[in-house]
Symmetry: C2
Subunit: 150 residues, 2 copies
């Protein structure tokens, strides 16, 4: 991956990240990059929390991929830490290049480096292509993910 | 639920909580209450993190139920907080009494109180009875949950 680098997200990356969140079959109805204010407030909270790591993949100084890694302490599995991956997006112009796999492998390695015993994520059941992608990376679809909107 | 109360877990609850984690079809191979040291270390980390809330249901001064609620800040859904429920257990002697539903309803209300837009959890696909339980509480099984052991 010679033309890409992965780094911690900065405040000025929030516009490009939110455009990636909104440019998505499911995110389009839920996110709106026209008003960044709520996203900047959320970014400040994420950035101040040592258990959160929001990253971007950068190509030619532009964010073209993103994910959020959350490190969750717990009692189960002998007090194991778990790494949780959320909000994975790759810019439409950079899909199919192997970039998504590199980004997930990076998150797996970062979880390992932080002492996690497990990495977990959920994916909408309608995203069947995405499921094969995670299985190829070694993930097992062992769970059902439930959501309740408040 | 007149005979039960829900409160934040304390260090002295860790023995009873780990016994509940281990007294489970899946947890039996993963958890061992004979050595509490790794669990106490994990408890200290959970207890020090303002985004984590480990609770117990107490009956006659004994913990008979537990769950962990994690509040996760994120950018998606206009910078929404989400409440994540993990490690739900009810003591074998207290199952079928409606206590589990009360505990989950409590976690939903606590997530709402903290400003979350969503509550999420995953459940092993083999626990089909548990899935009906969450659907009755209003959860939608919209996602596939992937795990990768490190």
């Amino acid at each position: 991956m010679p033309d890409y680098s992965i780094r911690r997200a900065r405040r000025e990356d929030i516009g490009p990240i939110v455009r990636m969140l909104a440019d998505d079959q499911l995110g389009a109805t839920r996110d709106d990059p026209a008003d960044l204010e709520p996203y900047l407030l959320a970014f400040d909270e994420i950035d101040a929390d040592p258990h959160q790591l929001l990253v971007v993949v950068v190509s030619e100084d532009e964010p073209v991929g993103t994910l959020q890694l959350t490190i969750i302490p717990g009692l189960a599995r002998r007090g194991a830490l778990r790494g949780q991956i959320e909000a994975v997006r790759i810019h439409a112009d950079h899909r199919g290049s192997g970039l998504g796999a590199e980004l997930i492998r990076w998150a797996i390695e970062e979880s390992r480096r932080r002492g996690c015993a497990l990495v977990q994520l959920t994916s909408d059941t309608s995203r069947t292509g995405v499921h094969r992608f995670y299985e190829r990376l070694g993930f097992v679809p062992s769970h059902t993910g439930f959501k309740l909107k408040l």
